[in-house]
Every structure is written in structure tokens, then in C-alpha cells.
Amino acid sequence: MNTNITEMDGKYVVELEGELDTAHALEVEEAMQPLHEVSGKAITIDCTKLEYIASSGLRILLGLLKSAKAKDNKVVLKNLNDDIKEVFKMTGFIDLFVIE
């Protein structure tokens, strides 16, 4: 499970790669911790290479979204695969996030 964060054109792009299961949730959460401090810049989470997400992974995304909302930041999710989109629908997360 890889988490790559890059800053480009005043935007943050997070690239998630692999399976975000409960075993890897902690490391991803830690990797994304700095983003909670960001203000005034949009965050795009690129899920092109994300194969799987468990509820622990959803929890990380929700935590980030709550912080960003508090600072008036935007969080955009990109390129969710069908299985993940299904989970997002099931849990109502599809209505919480901006999904491209």
C-alpha cells in the first residue's frame, strides 16, 4: 500500500495505490496526517490504483473531509473503481464527497 502526496499548482494530489484494508489503514492515516493542516488548497485523492477499501479506509477519508470542511477546503476523489464505488454508494459516502 503506497500513499504518494504531491503539491502541484497550489493543489495537493494524493495517490493511493494498492489495498486499503484494516492492516494498512494506520500507515495511510499517518501518511495523510499533514493534509489535515493544509488550508486554502484543494485536495484531490487519486484512486486510480486503489484496488480495495475497507471501513477503516473510509474512516480515514471521512476524517480528512471533516478537517478540510472545517477549513473550507475541497476534497475531490478521482477514478474510483466499480467495487469501491459500490461501497461508497452502500455507505452513503457518495453523497459526502465530490467524486470525479
Partner: protein
């Protein structure tokens, strides 16, 4: 709406009442009118008879007076004959006659002219009764020439007795006289003169007016030529009235009713001048010298009794109508009351029917039962009243069949209300609680709270674990159910106290394994205590016999059981009134184990890092069955979430334990049995996450069990032998 109808109906009825009253009044008035007419006729008939009688009696009386006069003359006829040669002795004769007959006012003997040449042409000895005394003298003279008197001429020429027309007494013009004249014969039988006596009509008057039918009635006596011989005193009746009556009687143009005998005449009169109306009855009794006797009766007196009768009738009619009106009013009032009571009853019946529908709707629907292969359920409830205090319920949650049967003390609406509350509580408690003992405990606490009416409920709760056939049950004073299989036996259920009696009662659940195809038969005492008309009860023996009969037949599906028992109870009870609610519930466990085509087991420790191994295990199992990617992904997520929950909640932090994940598949179902040795943790009792909340309100976490439920078809939890067993199932197609 209803009120308006009542008012409108009232009006119609009030109008109806008035119409009846008017008709009755008209009818009564008509009857009273007819009565009056009939009575008048009768009175007139009676009056005619009475008048005729009166006239006849008076005729007889008058006749006797007249006869006394005539006989006085007859008696002296021979004496006159003897005295004829002595003219002067005739004075003595007339004197004696008047003296001896007080009815006579005078007497005269008139000889044919020149009979006594020595006495002149006219000789007429005459005696008159005066106030001063009786005087006798010679009356006949050229000034008083009796020979031209018509009566004298008639008497002489006809040789007959004659009664004269009435004439005023020359001495007293107020007094009317009539003269009876008799011929005098000499010894050769030749008529030589006449003797006449004057009858004072006052004598007749005293007879005529002696007694009358009515106070104002009076009699009239008319001569042959219609002159009044005698009538009432001028003081009692106005002479003009009398004159009018005489004129009327003499008026031949007046229509008169003639009686059958031809003697009796009736005449109506109506004097417009003084308003007097009446009837005159007259007759000419031949005995009275062709005189006519009449009696005048006035209508107002004749019909006087009728008049007072009419007023009395009218008063009675009025009273009758009042009574009638009162009766109509009361009966209308009572009808109203009755109708209102009926409407009220109808309303209550309607409401009860609605209540019954609500109550019946609370019972599980038939279609909810059919969809499963592993259990068959059938229930029946026949309330004794429209609504009842019995209940049964069943539903399946997380592969467990929750069911109950109960009987609220009493019947009717109060019992139905308690039943509804208990039913609702049972549903809401068992939505999160799978343990029948705990469900019963909470129910009992609620039933005891504010139970001022001391209602109690006998209740039986069962929770059948469908995958295993394990039955957990708890009884609160209800009849123990039957287990019907190869034979029948009563489930060994501790009686315990009913709900609502003791609030800290401890309800301990019991357990039993149901073998495939065994059925559970639950009932209320309405079945065993159903009474026939001889007050015998259906009782346990008949119930057992019925069930046993079904066992022998091999027909123990729930519908068979209940239909047969119902049939037997009805046949037993027949026409007797149902005394209690009749409720039954039957459940047959029909699970068929299928062949396992693949199975594998993984044991991990309670660490999150083990999740990677778990996921690999799930993927390899899915691969072995060649499942499609999407399903594999779902299974992986569901199992991961379930196991993470166990790691998080079944093991207090720092404790070590193992979790066994057993995977198996039959031809159409995949199954994960996740067993751990941690503390008791039932994920099925975790309430559902709300996925509609906003970012701000949405809690971090709480999605695990929610995802498991949504990804899998069935989720089932059992605590067995100190282990938590979570069972996840998913149907699939190979």
C-alpha cells in the same frame, strides 16, 4: 353529519305526529258530530212519542170535563121535558145546573120562538155565575134575539148537540167561553128548544197547562174553525207568540208531517223576529168535537241535554287528544332515545370492527411465512368477542425465528389494549435482543409498570436458531407447547409467573434442539377450555388425541395441525357460545442439510495485522469456486469487517486469542463461520448505522456491521460453549 340526520328525522317524525294528531282530531270530531245528529234524531223521535202521549192524556182529561158538562145536560133532559108545561120553573132548573157544576159559567134554555105565547116571542131563562153571586133572569128579547144564533139554529134544525166556537164572555171580555147546546124535545119528541151551558175555558186551561215536558212548552186548544179556545196565560207566554202559533196551525200551506195514524201532525217553526225555534205537535182527537190540541216545544229546551252533552263531548275529545299527543310525544321521545342508543351502539361496533382489523393486522401475514425452506409457520386467532386478548407473533431476524404466544387476562377491549402493548414491546425488544430470557425480563418490567388494573399476561417466547435448530425459549405462566414429531411430547418449560405480576421476577431461558421436521404446537387455554353446551371442556386429552391422530397420519405441517384442531374444537363446541379467544401457532423446522462442495479453515490471532492473511484466505477460497471479481471483493470486505469487529470488541485490549474462520460452500450458498473465544459479543444486536447524515454529523466508524449486513444475505450469531459463533451467508450461482 349524523347529528343533522337525526334532526331532520326528528322533524319528519314531528310532522308525522302532528298529522296523526290532526287526523285523530278530525275523526273524533266527525264521530261526535254523527253522535249529535243521531242523538237529535232519537230525541225528536222520543219527543214525538211523548208529545203524542201528552196530547192523548190531555185530550182524555179535557174530554172528562166536557163529558161532565154533557152528562149534566143529559141528566136534566127528562126533567126539562117534565117542566115544559111550567115555563117559570125553567129558571130554577138553569139556576140549579150552574150551582151544581162549578165548571159552568152559565146556563140558558132557549125555546123556539112563540113556544110560550104568554111569554112573548122569545123566551130564554138564563143563569150566570158572577163574582157577586149567581143570577138568573130572562135574557131573550128583541135586542138579544137568540133565534138568529147559528148554534141555536143548528141545534134545532139538526136536532143535535153542538159545541160553539169560543167567544168572549159578554160580562167579562177577558174570559173566553164555549157553549154546549143540546136540543129539548117535548113528549112527542118534537124539538122545541135548546139548553146550553157555558164552559169557562179557564177550566180547560188548568188542565192544559198543568204539566209540560219542558218548562217553556205550552198547549193550545183550537176550535174546529181554528179559533183559540184555550192557551197559556198571557203572563207565561207572549200573546203575540200564541197568535203566531195559532196562525201557523191554521195555515194550510205550511208543510206538516203527518203521523202514520193520520191524527198527529208535526210542524217546525223558526221565528226570525225573536229567534225562537221549535216544534208544534198537534192532533184532532175526534172525541173533542173536532177541536185541535197542540203542544209547542222549543228547540233550545228539547236539545238542551244534547247541548251540554256536546260540550262534554268536546271536552272529552280535547282531553283524549291531549292524552294522545302526550303518548305520541313520549313514544317519539323514546324512539329517539332508542335510535340514539342504536346509533351509539353502531358507532361502537364500527370502532370495535376497526379495532379488530387493527388487531388482526398486527398478526403476522400468511405471505410472510412461505418464503423459507427451513421453517414452516401457521397461526390462527379467533377472538371470543370482536377484539380479544390473545396474541401470537413471529418474525425472522438474522436467521433466527422469534415467536411468541400470549393470553392477556380478561377479554374484550381492555385485554386487546394490553395485548397491543405487549405485542409492540415484543417486536421492539427483540429487534435488538435475541435472548428470550432477557426479552421476557424487559417485557415483565414494562408490564409491571403502572399496572393498576392488575392485568397479567401468560406469555411464551421462543427463538429458534434456523441454521442449527436450536430452540431457546422462556415461559411466563403459559401452557407448555407440544413438540410434534414421530410422537408428541410437551416441551419441558418451567411455568414461571405470568408477566405483570412480580417486577423483579427472574426469567431463565431454556434450550432444546428441534430435529428436522419436528413441529412445535403452541396454543392458548381457549383451546383446552373450549366448552360445549353441557359445559364440558375440550381439555388436554382431546387435544393430545387430535395431535396424535395427525402424527399417525403423518400430517404434521403447521396448517394441518391447526386446521385439524380447529375442526375438532368446533365439532366439540357446536352451537355453544365461544367463551374465550382461540389461538394457535405451529412451527415446523424443515431444514435440509446440503452437501458441502468446498470447505477451508483459517485460524488467526486477534491482531489487525492478520487481516492480510485473512484477505488472502478469502480470495483463495473464492478462486477455488471461480467466483466473479465483484462477489469476491464483497466477501473479502464483509469477512474483514466482521473479523475486525471481533478483534476490536470481543477482546479487551492486551488479551490474546484466536479467531477461526471456517469457509464452506454447498451448491448454492457460501458460508463463513467465524468463531472466537473472546467475551460475548453479538454483532447482530448492533443498531444500524445512519448513512444519510451530513459530513459534520456523521460519526467516524460504526460502519463495520452495517457493511457486513449489506454485503451478505444472512448474518447469524450464536453463543455456544463459551464461544461466539458468527455465521455469514451469501447465495451464489456456480
Amino acid at each position: 353529519m349524523e347529528k343533522r340526520n337525526i334532526k331532520a328525522w326528528d322533524k319528519v317524525r314531528a310532522r308525522g305526529g302532528i298529522a296523526i294528531l290532526i287526523t285523530a282530531a278530525a275523526f273524533m270530531l266527525m264521530i261526535s258530530g254523527l253522535q249529535q245528529t243521531y242523538a237529535r234524531k232519537q230525541i225528536r223521535k222520543g219527543l214525538e212519542k211523548t208529545a203524542e202521549m201528552e196530547l192523548i192524556i190531555k185530550t182524555l182529561n179535557i174530554k172528562s170535563v166536557l163529558e161532565s158538562v154533557e152528562s149534566a145536560l143529559n141528566n136534566h133532559a127528562w126533567e126539562i121535558e117534565q117542566l115544559l108545561p111550567y115555563p117559570d120553573s125553567l129558571f130554577g132548573l138553569t139556576q140549579r145546573l150552574v150551582e151544581q157544576n162549578p165548571t159552568l159559567d152559565g146556563c140558558c134554555i132557549a125555546m123556539v120562538p112563540d113556544y110560550y105565547p104568554e111569554k112573548g116571542r122569545l123566551f130564554e131563562p138564563y143563569t150566570i155565575r158572577r163574582d157577586s153571586g149567581i143570577e138568573t133572569y130572562q135574557l131573550g128579547s128583541e135586542e138579544h134575539d137568540y133565534s138568529t144564533n147559528l148554534v141555536f139554529i143548528e141545534t134545532i134544525e139538526q136536532d143535535t148537540s153542538v159545541w160553539s166556537e169560543p167567544y168572549p164572555n159578554p160580562e167579562e171580555p177577558d174570559v173566553t167561553l164555549v157553549t154546549h147546546t143540546h136540543p129539548i124535545h117535548d113528549k112527542t119528541g118534537k124539538v122545541v128548544g135548546s139548553i146550553g151551558v157555558d164552559l169557562n175555558t179557564e177550566w180547560l186551561g188548568s188542565i192544559l197547562n198543568s204539566r209540560h215536558l219542558y218548562p217553556s212548552s205550552y198547549n193550545l186548544l183550537l176550535s174546529e174553525e181554528g179559533h183559540l179556545i184555550c192557551g197559556p196565560d198571557a203572563e207565561t207566554v207572549n200573546p203575540q207568540e200564541v197568535d203566531m202559533m195559532v196562525a201557523l196551525l191554521n195555515d194550510s200551506t205550511c208543510s206538516q208531517n203527518v203521523s202514520t195514524s193520520g191524527r198527529f201532525h208535526t210542524l217546525n217553526f223558526n221565528n226570525k223576529e225573536n229567534g225562537s225555534k221549535g216544534f208544534v205537535y198537534s192532533m184532532s182527537p175526534g172525541a173533542l168535537n173536532s177541536w185541535r190540541l197542540a203542544v209547542v216545544n222549543y228547540k233550545d229546551e228539547v236539545f238542551q241535554p244534547l247541548k251540554s252533552l256536546r260540550w262534554r263531548n268536546l271536552l272529552l275529545t280535547l282531553v283524549g287528544l291531549l292524552v294522545f299527543a302526550f303518548i305520541i310525544q313520549r313514544s317519539a321521545h323514546n324512539l329517539n332515545k332508542l335510535e340514539k342508543a342504536n346509533l351509539e351502539k353502531e358507532r361502537i361496533d364500527n370502532e370495535l370492527n376497526i379495532a379488530k382489523n387493527i388487531q388482526m393486522d398486527m398478526l403476522p401475514k400468511a405471505e410472510q411465512k412461505a418464503s423459507r425452506e427451513d421453517v414452516d409457520i401457521y397461526g390462527s386467532l379467533v377472538p371470543a368477542k370482536i377484539v380479544g386478548g390473545d396474541l401470537y407473533d413471529h418474525f425472522i431476524r438474522d436467521e433466527k425465528l422469534f415467536f411468541c404466544i400470549g393470553d392477556v387476562s380478561g377479554k374484550g377491549v381492555p385485554a386487546a389494549l394490553v395485548m397491543a402493548v405487549v405485542h409492540t414491546l415484543f417486536r421492539s425488544i427483540s429487534a435488538h435482543e435475541s435472548h428470550p430470557g432477557r426479552i421476557m425480563h424487559i417485557l415483565n418490567e414494562n408490564a409491571c409498570q403502572g399496572n393498576d388494573t392488575n392485568m397479567f399476561v401468560t406469555f411464551f417466547i421462543g427463538v429458534l436458531d434456523l441454521p442449527t435448530g436450536k430452540l431457546r425459549y422462556c415461559n411466563a405462566g403459559h401452557n407448555g407447547p407440544f413438540i410434534v414429531g414421530n410422537s408428541i411430547r410437551i416441551l419441558p418449560a418451567k411455568a414461571n409467573l405470568p408477566l405483570g405480576v412480580v417486577d423483579d421476577m427472574v426469567y431463565v431461558a431454556q434450550e432444546e434442539i428441534l430435529a428436522p421436521n419436528e413441529a412445535l404446537f403452541l396454543y392458548t387455554d381457549g383451546v383446552t377450555e373450549a366448552k360445549n353446551s353441557q359445559h364440558e371442556q375440550f381439555d388436554m386429552t382431546r387435544l393430545e388425541k387430535t395431535l396424535m391422530g395427525l402424527v399417525v397420519e403423518g400430517a404434521i405441517t403447521p396448517k394441518h395441525l391447526i386446521d385439524k384442531v380447529n375442526e375438532q374444537v368446533n365439532a366439540f363446541v357446536q352451537d355453544a357460545e365461544q367463551s374465550d379467544d382461540l389461538t394457535m401457532l405451529a412451527i415446523q423446522y424443515t431444514r435440509k442439510a446440503k452437501d458441502i462442495i468446498f470447505q477451508d479453515t483459517l485460524t488467526i490471532s486477534n491482531k489487525l495485522s492478520e487481516i492480510t492473511r485473512l484477505n488472502t484466505f478469502v480470495i483463495s477460497a473464492a478462486d477455488a469456486l471461480h467466483l466473479e471479481m465483484g462477489l469476491t471483493s464483497k466477501l473479502k470486505l464483509a469477512v474483514e469487517e466482521a473479523v475486525v469487529n471481533i478483534i476490536d470488541y470481543a477482546y479487551p485490549s492486551g488479551t490474546d486469542g484466536t479467531i477461526e474462520i471456517h469457509f464452506e460452500a454447498d451448491s448454492d450458498c457460501l458460508r463463513f463461520l467465524i468463531t472466537d473465544t473472546g467475551s460475548e459479543f453479538d454483532p447482530t444486536s448492533v443498531s444500524k448505522a445512519d448513512t444519510t447524515l451530513s459530513v459534520e454529523d456523521r460519526p467516524i466508524g460504526g460502519l463495520g456491521v452495517f457493511l457486513v449486513r449489506n454485503l451478505m444475505d444472512n448474518i447469524n450469531y450464536e453463543r455456544l460453549g463459551g464461544k461466539n459463533i458468527l455465521r455469514l451467508e451469501k447465495r451464489y450461482k456456480q
